[in-house]
Symmetry: C2
Subunit: 242 residues, 2 copies
Amino acid sequence: MPRIIKHPEIRREELLDHAQALFLTHGYDKASLNDVIAAAGVSKGAFYHYFASKEALLEALAERFARQALAGVQKVVDDADLDPLGRLNALLAQSRQAKVETAAEAWALFETMFRPENLVLFHRINLAASKSFSPILVEIIRQGVEDGTFRTFDPEGVADIVMQFGLATHDVIAKAFAGGSDADMDIAIEALERRVRLYEIALDRILGLPDGSIRIGEPGYVRAVMTARRSNPALGGPIEGT
Amino acid sequence: MPRIIKHPEIRREELLDHAQALFLTHGYDKASLNDVIAAAGVSKGAFYHYFASKEALLEALAERFARQALAGVQKVVDDADLDPLGRLNALLAQSRQAKVETAAEAWALFETMFRPENLVLFHRINLAASKSFSPILVEIIRQGVEDGTFRTFDPEGVADIVMQFGLATHDVIAKAFAGGSDADMDIAIEALERRVRLYEIALDRILGLPDGSIRIGEPGYVRAVMTARRSNPALGGPIEGT
DNA sequence: CTATTATACCGACCAACGGTCTATGACTCA
DNA sequence: TGAGTCATAGACCGTTGGTCGGTATAATAG
């Protein structure tokens, strides 16, 4: 095989890209290292020059995901005009759609991300994301408590619950896929929509806010994302690139 | 090797027992099938006579865990004298200590269960447990709503949140281990204790109850469990038997 | 009391896996 | 130009989860 030398950063990103596609489509366990290096067109030696192990590759991938997610909400965090409630709402709404622009793209991400074989990958991303998001949330809640918008004796605890809720949709979504049939899907969508309302109210309460203050997402958003699958059945394949 | 024939049910339980010990001590991934069959004193052929794959073994183990946990709360569920709130509280308190009698035992379980390499096992158990517990919780909440004790528009959603909270201590506990030092441990214990109070209040609110109605666990329980480690350092080994 | 079938078990074997190692082509800089 | 470092290649290794043909024991039938 001819020896192709690329700029280390590019090579590393390429490895991450192909690993991402393969991990998402086949799952971390089932996608072998040989698959990854074959897809990336690289030798074993080259791979182990960049990553210490398959595990390390997963870790790096999770970190990249988290970095991207964080970048996606940075302008909300930096917006000095927002009060704590506004910032929290913006963050919740933003994180719901993350880096996803259209409902169709959202579907593709959901489809791949929430399949059971992606448990490990998903968990790593969550871990990495929590590490970046938690301090931000805590800071927002602290400010809110200081200026009297929020009321709570455990800002970190509330921040944890906020994150938990932000990610808890996972289970409901996963169940929607597990069901399979359109009828099951419909039921899951309704349940998810109701769940979001419930989360909003729960957050209102534990933050000492009047009902209706927290807005995680506008009604109908879930359905829009979910039904995008039918309008574009080609989605759900590997997610290439950054 | 001499051929030893046992009653199928016994052999199967033995395999599950040794798998449980090994999975908990080394993690599902790191404990190899050869380890399991060596510990159980059985050949490859024998193993595959009982389980279709390593994955199936994990599944069966998770189911057994869930079955045992369910049996542990059965008398609370069947207690006709309890009103919905009392039953819910009893269930929350019970599930917190599960099959564990002493704080020392609780530590051993926590120590093994919540180590990061047991993510997969833990998740499977959760899945299986949720499947058995959810209907029970929903039924209790439904009854509470009917007789006016609780107020909510989404009993299933509330049930989900209750389960979530019941298991959410996982993350905080995991962080306690991740830290390692005694100081970190102390901080984690304080955080966990505060978190429990927060959960109680949150559940009060989303169930439309006055504050102080929900009692997940008495104050100090977390510390009692956590500090049991120092008083009995021998703990943390494999958990043998049923 | 055999003959036959079904069940529980054994262990050699296999492809594929993650990971290691040595070799070497390709740049860098003096 | 030559020494040294970096990026790559690919043969190789022990172990893994899993398969397979065979065998001893138990259950059943004639």
